[in-house]
């Protein structure tokens, strides 16, 4: 017996010294997480990045056509491409992990509002670096929006800024550089996900556990962070004055020059809903809604999956009813925006408290002995 105990003790010491925290994935008979990941990748995520990539290429081409011959018609074509691409971005903006995280996609293409003072000084000096963190709000969609809508009061005035203005040549170069930066980053992410490129898709599907670094862990944590800080705060709450002692800041809205704020916010929320439901190019497939339903997650007497679905629907309805342009609404008629904000708030609670708790998703690798 003593020998046995010594041997056990020795084995312990070996295990202790060699212990590690790695977690591996696997499928569960009750709910097939791998199947969900395959569906999400094939039905929702890859198509969203593909569309975004195509739209951003189209935007780059339209902008180059405008730069080559700036006139009212090429301006209109550019604005049309901008609108399309910006909406496509709203459908691909909330997976800031893996390839998107590597190229800092979200902060690179959509740090709003645009810092127009720096943009103007970049244009007149002709020197700028798009790889610095401080320059994030001098490029991307907000910068394009400013240059296509905000640099003069009339459309002809805007065209003039690219033709007769003293800085016209520099301005054209700047717009070209902004478009190229967006195109290269988006294309890098789309390629990294695709099977013919970096094939992150395989990594994503095979990381099918529920620990922090697993695909489920990443998606859940990014989803609630995004809805909290982008869908609720940046797009709706901050312009409304929710973080500035109750004083509205109209200048903080997304796409203020193009008046697209509410249209983009609605598009974004609908995309989040589709992602949650698993609705994509191939129809309604497996996603978190099904996951929560299968494990029978509860919400005060009903199903959590349904509670989240209904809350998404309420939030979409209220956000859609906010009068546009949003930068005027926040000061003249804040009540509908307040109502939308409240619905988004409830959605955040469900996505940040209930959903991770029900799925057993943690937020850090830190040790834990159960709250």
């Amino acid at each position: 017996m003593k020998k046995l105990l010594s041997a056990i003790l020795l084995i312990n010491l070996i295990v202790v010294t060699s212990c590690s925290d790695d977690e591996t994935g696997g499928s569960t008979p009750g709910f097939d997480r791998k199947a969900m990941l395959e569906d999400l990748a094939g039905n929702v995520i890859l198509p969203a990045y593909d569309t975004l990539n195509k739209e951003v290429i189209a935007l780059d081409e339209a902008l180059n056509a405008f730069i080559t011959s700036p006139d009212l018609s090429s301006l209109a074509a550019s604005r049309n491409a901008f609108e399309q691409a910006y909406h496509a971005w709203q459908r691909a903006s909330f997976w800031e992990f893996g390839p998107a995280f590597d190229v800092l996609l979200m902060s690179s293409v959509n740090s709003f509002p645009a810092d127009y003072i720096s943009i103007n000084s970049n244009i007149s000096s002709g020197t700028y670096d798009f790889n610095t963190l401080s320059g994030q709000d001098e490029k991307g969609f907000p910068a394009v929006g400013y240059l296509l809508y905000g640099i003069a009061d009339t459309d002809q005035g805007i065209v003039d800024m690219f033709t007769t203005d003293a800085d016209a040549a520099n301005r054209k170069d700047y717009l070209k550089a902004v478009a190229a930066d967006m195109r290269s980053r988006v294309s890098e992410v789309a390629t990294a996900w695709s099977a013919s490129g970096g094939d992150y898709r395989s990594v994503f599907i095979n990381s099918d556990g529920t620990d922090v670094g697993s695909s489920v862990g990443l998606m859940v944590n990014e989803l609630n962070k995004f809805v909290e800080r982008e869908a609720r705060d940046a797009k709706i709450g901050i312009p409304l004055g929710k973080r500035s002692q109750g004083i509205p800041i109209p200048g903080e809205v997304e796409a203020g020059y193009s008046n697209l704020s509410i249209s983009l916010a609605s598009e974004n929320l609908e995309a989040l809903y589709n992602f949650y439901m698993g609705i994509g190019v191939e129809g309604d497939k497996i996603s978190f809604y099904d996951y929560l339903t299968t494990i029978n997650a509860q919400y005060n007497g009903g199903l959590l999956s349904d509670a989240i679905k209904q809350q998404f629907e309420s939030a979409m309805k209220e956000v859609g009813e906010i009068p546009t342009p949003y930068q005027e609404t926040v000061e003249s008629n804040p009540t509908p925006a307040d109502e939308a904000y409240t619905e988004l708030q409830k959605l955040v609670v469900l996505l940040k408290a209930d959903m991770p708790s029900a799925l057993g998703v943690l937020i850090t690798y830190q040790d834990n002995d159960g709250d």
Binding site: V15, V16, D21, L304, V348, A353, N368, G370
Partner: protein, 446 residues
């Protein structure tokens, strides 16, 4: 009783415990540093949740905290080697406990356990055999010590297990198999037996087995005839929890610590074998043992240990003095060996009002807190109050003379669904922390 606790027994179990404890503490401290947790838990946060009554414990800044951790690692090695033992044990206790007191976000029962054991270690003659201290001063060597020197550690361990078992005797754990019913299914990837974790009956089995294990294991370890089986159960239980849950070093600390229950013969044999190796390496010096002479202070030490245990026996019951559901209010929850007992998550919206202008706005935890601090704060009323007071100070600094701070908090307990946790009408800047009942915690309704 008197005779029993003063009865001389071999020093070997105590010595082996010292070596194992020093070793596992060294591993724990190094692991903590290598995982980057010193940075994420003690350098990055802009605000720390101090313990009530310990607000004077302040973080030391980046250099300071790393120095503390390095000192802690060296002290652990010294405890293991028995070098300058009393000093190194004291230093380890102070450094470890200081770090734990900085921020209650990081409270873990096993950190509390380490603080208690390292406090006890200071007063034990664990360096008087098989140590660098004996190598330096052969006169320190004793072969026997009074039984209380070993008993105190055994009782401390028994207390941890037993109270962990008592804590499991609640409706959710036994009748609903919660939270294990939520925690087990995501572990279905464990090889071979993984599929079992999806079965509800397995969650029930684990819940009941866990309760019976915790309640009985101290007794089974004390009795010689059941001890080997009990130890096999200890290993199986802790390895299983290590595989299933992210509970860090705790399983290994317990597996090593419970060897203190083994017979003196076992420990003597172990030391002898290592001694043979050391002799071959010519780093061992034979010395003659002295007789252990109890110092005048040892009676005080025994008295102190008795009080120490008594406090721990009483402390976990303090929750009965508070109204409401313990898991919901968490009044009297900490320092009671409530390990892996509930699944709780929440979200707090702080509503700020400047009464002078009537303006209202909101503040969120992520502006000042790390994700872990935010998570812990969201479900614990005392931390919500602390953060509300911190926000009050921030706004006063920004020129608002008398800001009002209210918390709209939602909490879900054991997957029941989030519901309102704190009275959203109460201005928390007017409430003070303390041991009294916090009336602004809403009651848990089913």
């Amino acid at each position: 009783m008197r005779d029993l606790i003063y009865k001389p027994i071999s020093i070997a179990p105590l010595v082996v415990f010292r070596v194992l404890f020093g070793f596992i503490m060294f591993v724990s401290v190094m692991r903590f540093m290598l995982n980057g947790w010193v940075d994420s838990q003690y350098v990055m946060p802009r605000f720390f949740f101090s313990y009530y009554g310990f607000e004077w414990i302040k973080p030391l800044g980046e250099t300071g905290i790393y120095v503390i951790f390095i000192v802690m690692a060296i002290a652990a090695l010294c405890v293991m080697a028995g070098a300058f033992y009393r000093i190194s044990a004291t230093v380890f206790f102070l450094a470890f406990t200081y770090v734990e007191l900085i921020d209650k976000t990081n409270y873990l029962n096993h950190y509390y356990f380490v603080s208690l054991v390292s406090l006890v270690m200071i007063f034990l003659p664990a360096h008087r055999h098989f140590s660098l201290d004996v190598w330096r001063k052969p006169a320190l060597y004793v072969r026997e010590v009074p039984y209380w020197c070993v008993l105190i550690i055994q009782l401390q361990l028994a207390l941890v297990y037993f109270y962990a078992g008592v804590a499991k005797l609640n409706y959710d754990w036994l009748m609903e198999a919660l939270p294990l019913r939520m925690w087990l299914p995501p572990n279905a990837h464990v090889p071979v037996v993984g599929f079992l974790f999806e079965e509800v009956w397995v969650a029930y089995f684990f819940s009941w087995f866990g309760a019976v294990y915790d309640l009985s294991i101290p007794f089974l370890l004390f009795y010689k005839r059941t001890r080997p089986y009990a130890y096999v159960a200890v290993i199986a239980f802790h390895i299983l929890t290590w595989l299933l849950f992210p509970i860090g070093m705790f399983p290994f600390i317990m597996i090593l610590a419970t060897t203190i229950f083994f017979s003196p013969d076992f420990h003597q044999g172990l030391i002898k074998k290592i001694t043979v190796v050391l002799q071959r390496l010519r780093v061992y010096r034979d010395v003659a043992p002295q007789k252990y002479v109890a110092s005048a202070a040892s009676r005080w030490v025994v008295g102190f240990f008795a009080c120490f245990l008594l406090v721990q026996v009483i402390l976990p019951w303090r929750f009965t003095l508070y109204p409401g559901k313990l898991f919901w209010t968490e009044q009297g929850y900490r320092f009671s060996w409530r390990v892996m007992l509930m699944e709780k998550a929440g979200y707090v919206i702080f509503h700020i009002k400047d009464p002078e202008t009537g303006r209202q706005w909101e503040a969120y935890a992520h502006e000042y807190l790390t994700p872990m601090q935010e998570k812990q704060m969201s479900t614990q009323p005392d931390m919500i109050l602390q953060y509300a007071h911190f926000l009050e100070q921030e706004y006063i600094k920004q020129g608002i003379r008398d800001p009002e701070v209210r918390a709209e908090a939602y909490v879900t307990l054991n997957g029941s669904g989030s519901r309102l946790f704190i009275d959203p009408e109460v201005d928390l800047t007017k409430e003070q922390d303390g041991f009294g009942h916090k009336k602004w915690i809403l009651s848990y309704k089913n």
